[in-house]
């Protein structure tokens, strides 16, 4: 098997909590990311799902070197990029780019679209010779489905969906190999979300990109991802191929999350089992001992408070080879189907109208 393009091991990010104005004293830490491992193969899409505060955005920031991890490694083609600086960092940055969530704050309102996308070439002049830059920017606009003539416009002249296309064009400018997309469609209207998702899927083929796709919307993640990791309170609790996670979840948190997603099918509402979790996510400053999900878990027993479950194929599934045999950090993992099997006609009539 080929070496993964990105290998993350033991990634940790703690933000110290301090008191005092001039002389600071640490009194605790927000454990935003608390030991995350995953890998990304070339050309694939890894989806990371989780609720707000689970640390998924912090992971994204560390991947593109906007935050420095407290501990752990991020290996890009075998090289740890977390301790790089200067030239070496700059060249890694060329290859790992980010698409942001909010199309309204991610574009500088004082710069034209041409300057925003072309800035990549100012910073990395070796990528494109000076005379060539304008043409390259226009080509990128064309690639993301915008009129190349609008190169001199300002972001506020575009709608949310179009701004997100500009953000994607900026991410593509340096021809990166990996794109980290942090909730790229959650700020967009439903009818525009599909356009952006399709664009991202097309670009992946066209530019041979590998995606880390971070979102809270489980159905969008499933649509675009090859593999999925479910995060809870700073850790990945379950990971596997999309069908393994969605159709054969073994971790109770994944099961609860999947069962809570409203399904756009009114027929399903009567005969659907819903797992309603008690309470709220604990504070990341004060993570429960043992399994971090145990405070909301209906299966929790004494062992869960004492022993941290490892992210591995649970013992009971190790002997079987099937979709249930994937990594799940639960002492009492068991398979449970929570997403109703797709009826052949849930919404509409299959093919698009007209």
């Amino acid at each position: 098997m080929a070496e993964p393009i990105l290998q993350v091991t033991g990634l940790v990010k703690h933000y110290p909590l301090t008191t005092g104005i001039l002389f600071k004293k640490q009194v605790g830490a927000v454990k935003a990311v608390d030991g995350v491992d995953f890998h990304l193969d070339r050309g694939e899409t890894l989806g990371i799902v989780g609720e707000s505060g689970c640390g998924k955005s912090t992971v994204a920031k560390m991947l593109v070197n906007l935050e420095r991890p407290t501990a752990g490694e991020i290996r890009y083609k075998g090289e740890d990029i977390t301790r790089l600086s200067g030239k070496a960092l700059k060249s890694v940055r060329r290859n790992i780019q980010m698409v942001f969530q909010d199309p309204y704050t991610s574009l500088n309102p004082r710069m034209t679209v041409g300057d925003i996308i072309g800035e990549a070439y100012d910073i990395h002049p070796e990528v494109a010779p000076k005379g060539d830059r304008r043409a390259r920017v226009q080509q990128l606009l064309d690639v993301v489905g915008l009129n190349p003539e609008y190169i001199n416009r300002y972001p506020h002249q575009f709608s949310g969906g179009q701004r997100q296309r500009i953000g994607i064009a900026r991410g593509l400018a340096l021809r990166p190999e990996i794109i980290v997309a942090d909730e790229p469609v959650s700020a967009l209207d439903v009818s525009v979300q599909a356009q952006v998702i399709n664009l991202m899927a097309r670009l992946q083929d066209e530019f041979d990109l590998s995606y880390i796709f971070i979102a809270h919307d489980l159905s969008i993640v499933r649509h675009i991802s090859d593999r999925v990791g479910v995060m809870y309170l700073g850790r990945i609790v379950e990971t596997g191929r999309d069908a393994e996670i969605y159709d054969h979840p073994t971790h109770p948190y994944t099961q609860a999350l999947l069962s809570a997603v409203p399904v756009p099918d009114p027929e399903a509402r009567e005969h659907r089992e819903r797992i309603i979790l008690a309470g709220d996510v604990p504070s990341p400053t004060n993570i429960p001992s043992g399994c971090r999900f145990r405070t909301r878990c209906w299966k929790a027993r004494e062992r869960c408070a004492l022993e941290v479950p490892a992210l591995a194929v649970p013992a009971e599934f190790r002997s079987v080879s099937g979709p249930a045999a994937h990594d799940s950090a639960c002492h009492f993992a068991e398979e449970k189907q929570v997403v109703p099997p797709e009826t052949d006609d849930g919404a509409g009539h299959g093919s698009g109208p007209g």
Partner: protein, 327 residues
């Protein structure tokens, strides 16, 4: 009908001209019924609700015509004083962002109790007891202790429960919930929607649920009204609309949701973008984006045709609803 909105028109005066936010909306809710108003940003769904509640900012907004009949009385003809008595006591609203809808310097007990001291003339002590009772009812644990806490001491889900408690306080006949769970995480969203549906059944209230989420709608609604560019384009019982939409916009929305059996394929996407409300296209506002559009769509505004097929009442504002239903 508990509430009936008839041919409501609302516009906003802006720097770029008149934004026609609501262009002839009519809908109705019965006691005990849940009407979901579905639409994207700029569809006019929230402006309609704010007009019904009487909390629209005027100016910049202006109600140019229409009637809002609440138990037969036209609310738009009431004096502000009478209108205020209706608000809170007979109809209440739940907003998306509970944190900014609660007063940060008052305890939740004071804010809940205020409903009773102001509207029912209760003593502070009785009102406090009522507040605890309400918090119990929306299942906030340790209500007796937490009644003295401030809004920021509660989590997002708990705050939304407090908002629900406040809306339910005077047992109104109608609740308008504007994206009540959009700001919440899925697991918490499920808790809150369940609670809302349960209380609605118990108190036999009418519920108008404003949302953009097709999943939430499918879970709780009885009827759906789909809005686009300030008009209702389709209205139908929830089962019919998901099974067989009668308007190309509804159909496009439903098909643009990622589905398991389409995995890996291109998603169906409605082309283009919703119109600017200062420049709504002539004829059918959806025609520039519509895959079924013909010449007539660019010139004639389609009325809300009666497309009832079985016994349930349905309407579609599409010239080609037949083709859409049977295509």
């Amino acid at each position: 009908m508990l509430l009936e909105v008839r041919d409501l028109h609302v516009e906003f005066h802006t720097r770029d001209g008149v934004a026609r936010a609501v262009n002839g909306v009519s809908y109705g809710v019965d006691a005990g019924e849940t009407l979901a108003v579905l639409g994207e940003s700029g569809s006019g769904k929230s402006v309609t609700a704010q007009t019904v509640m009487g909390i629209l900012d005027v100016p910049p907004g202006r109600i140019t015509s229409g009637e809002i009949l609440f138990e037969g009385r036209d609310l738009l003809k009431l004096k502000e004083e009478e209108r205020r008595k209706v608000r809170g006591a007979e109809m209440a609203m739940i907003f998306q962002d509970a944190l900014s809808s609660l007063n940060p310097v008052l305890t939740v007990g004071d804010q809940l109790g205020e409903m009773f001291t102001v509207h029912r003339g209760m003593s502070r002590k009785d009102a406090r007891a009522k507040a605890v009772e309400l918090m119990d009812r929306v299942r906030i644990p340790a209500a007796k202790e937490r009644v003295r806490q401030y809004p920021h001491q509660f989590s997002g889900g708990m705050r939304q429960r407090i908002m629900i408690a406040m809306a339910m306080a005077l047992e109104p006949k109608l609740i308008i919930a504007d994206e009540p769970t959009t700001a919440l995480d899925v697991t918490v969203q499920a808790q809150v929607m369940d609670l809302l549906a349960e209380l609605q059944r118990e108190l036999h209230m009418g519920l108008i649920l404003i949302t953009h989420d097709l999943g939430v709608v499918a879970d709780v609604a009885d009827r759906i009204a789909v809005m686009y560019a300030g008009r209702i384009v389709e209205t139908a019982p929830v089962h019919d609309i998901y099974k067989n939409p009668a308007h190309p916009y509804t159909r496009g929305l439903l098909e643009s949701i990622p589905r398991l059996d389409q995995k890996g394929q291109e998603l169906y996407a409605i082309k283009g973008l919703p119109p600017n409300l200062t420049r709504i296209p002539p004829g059918c506002a959806f025609h520039p984006r519509c895959p079924m559009a013909q010449d007539v769509c660019a010139t004639d505004v389609p009325p809300l045709y009666d497309v009832t097929e079985s016994d349930a009442e349905r309407g579609s504002a599409c010239h080609f609803w037949r083709e859409c239903l049977h295509g």
